[in-house]
């Protein structure tokens, strides 16, 4: 293989042409998204179907969803470096890479959403300190820096880079101080994940979203942070499973997977208890107090029915939580896979409800439901991060020692080759 010198020692990878063919296929999808992104930048946001009545493009849901799914990085880092759950060292590299992809995607989406990315720095220079979204922008930028810092040692462990003494020592020293960076990342994540929920919770003009809370923070602030920590690890587990399926190799030992699934399961169950209480209180006290019955939010339209409430809370919330806390279902690969897929759908559905359904529900007597159909440019720019993520994972897996247990788990295959 022409790139053999870059591949981790002892690791078996597909041939370079086969690898590049895969990259080219996914790269075509990436270019489609880039084309749509450039259209939005050069022609403006008229490329979307947003208007004065409905101001959230499809990509805003994707933005909140990837931030929630990327929460696996901060939570796994917190467990590994602060709570010293040492087994997670075998999956932390991959969790960081997934987090890096999610957060860089989120920043890219925001760069598209603001329409004029050249003015992106205005949020720092002319900061509105009364806005939760300003806090989100600050924390998001800083946390992306944290993820970059956490990713760098893994890059420097590349077979060739690691031969350079300075890079070798830098990787070593960064590993040594990683607890400081992980703690900073947890601090930043707590606030930006929370503030994204807080934005919905303080919308006093939107009875579907508004919540009571603690001091300046609505309950949705805490629910968002909690859900990101709970469901994020499921996305890490899901992408790990997909990577194992694509590579045809076992990459992480079962005890590590079981442990992360168990922690995630208990986080989901506790989150769902809080979410059920929150939903019940909102449905019976908050919304009626503002003049709205529950049925107002789920009837008289062609899409948003009670099904979405049941799907989010029961099917994709309570059920995966119970499957993951139960030892027999957690350790059964099929049930575990079902649980983590449902969990990933569940948190994405929650973000959909808390972003897009909020905007769709009529508020004034003369309002109608705003059932939004995104333009192809919105769809393409929403798929763009997926293609980018696949490419980055492919390169990372090929050239970096991402999975410390890979060689041990695939010893027989290495010997055969």
């Amino acid at each position: 293989m022409m790139d053999a010198a870059l591949i981790p020692e002892g690791a078996k990878r597909c041939s370079f042409p086969k690898f590049m063919l895969g990259i080219a296929i996914v790269g075509a999808v990436l270019l489609w998204g880039v084309y749509a992104m450039l259209l939005c930048w050069f022609k403006g946001l008229n490329q979307t179907n947003m208007n004065d009545y409905y101001g959230f493009a499809l990509w805003i849901w994707a933005d909140l969803a990837v931030i929630a799914l990327g929460g696996g990085a901060f939570f796994t880092g917190l467990l590994k470096y602060i709570f010293k759950v040492d087994e997670l060292k075998n999956i932390i590299n991959f969790a960081v890479i997934i987090g890096f992809i999610c957060y860089s995607s989120a920043l890219l989406i925001l760069a598209i959403d603001i329409g004029q990315p050249l003015r992106g720095w205005f949020i720092f220079w002319h900061a509105n300190v009364h806005s939760m979204l300003t806090e989100v922008a600050f924390c998001l930028s800083c946390y992306f820096a944290v993820l970059t810092i956490e990713f760098i040692p893994n890059i420097l462990e590349n077979r060739q880079l690691n031969k350079v003494p300075f890079f070798h020592h830098l990787a070593h020293n960064m590993h040594g101080t990683m607890a400081v960076f992980a703690a900073t990342g947890a601090f930043l994540s707590f606030f930006h994940q929370g503030s994204l929920g807080g934005v919905a919770g303080v919308m006093y003009g939107r009875p579907f979203a508004v919540r009571e809370g603690l001091l300046i923070w609505p309950w949705s602030f805490f629910l968002f942070t909690w859900s990101a920590a709970a469901f994020g690890p499921c996305f890490t587990l899901l992408v790990t499973r997909i990577t194992e399926a694509v590579t045809g190799k076992k990459l992480v030992k079962d005890n590590v997977i079981h442990l992360l699934a168990k922690i995630s399961g208990w986080m989901i169950v506790t989150y769902m208890i809080a979410k059920l209480i929150d939903t019940w209180y909102w449905a019976y006290y908050t919304a009626p107090g503002l003049g709205f019955e529950l049925s107002h939010f789920y009837t008289n339209n062609g899409f948003y029915g009670y099904w979405i409430l049941v799907a989010e809370i029961i099917v994709c919330g309570v059920i995966p939580g119970l499957l993951l806390i139960n030892k027999s279902t957690r350790e059964n690969p099929n049930f575990r896979l079902i649980a983590i897929i449902l969990a990933v759908i569940g948190v994405s559905l929650n973000r959909w409800v808390m972003v897009l359904q909020i905007m769709a529900v009529p508020v004034m007597p003369f309002d109608t439901w705003a059932l939004y159909i995104p333009s192809w440019q919105e769809v393409a720019t929403t798929i763009l991060p997926v293609a980018y993520g696949i490419i980055l994972i492919a390169f990372a897996y090929r050239y970096l020692p991402v999975f410390p247990q890979e060689l041990e788990l695939n010893q027989s295959k290495v010997q055969e080759s």
Binding site: V129, V146, H169, L188
Partner: protein, 52 residues
């Protein structure tokens, strides 16, 4: 107003927002500076500490 924070006002909102922001930036900057300087020294001394 500071050169690096345009429109600075001495109120609780600005102190909390920018205090938290620069606190995080400060930790990351100090942490990375420590790692880079130590790595440069280690590389020059070639301590042979090659395992982690």
């Amino acid at each position: 107003m500071f050169p690096f924070i345009f429109e600075w006002v001495w109120d609780i909102g600005h102190v909390l927002f920018f205090g938290g922001f620069w606190y995080a930036i400060g930790i990351l900057g100090a942490g990375m500076t420590y790692c880079i300087v130590k790595s440069a020294i280690d590389a020059m001394n070639d301590t042979g500490d090659n395992h982690h």
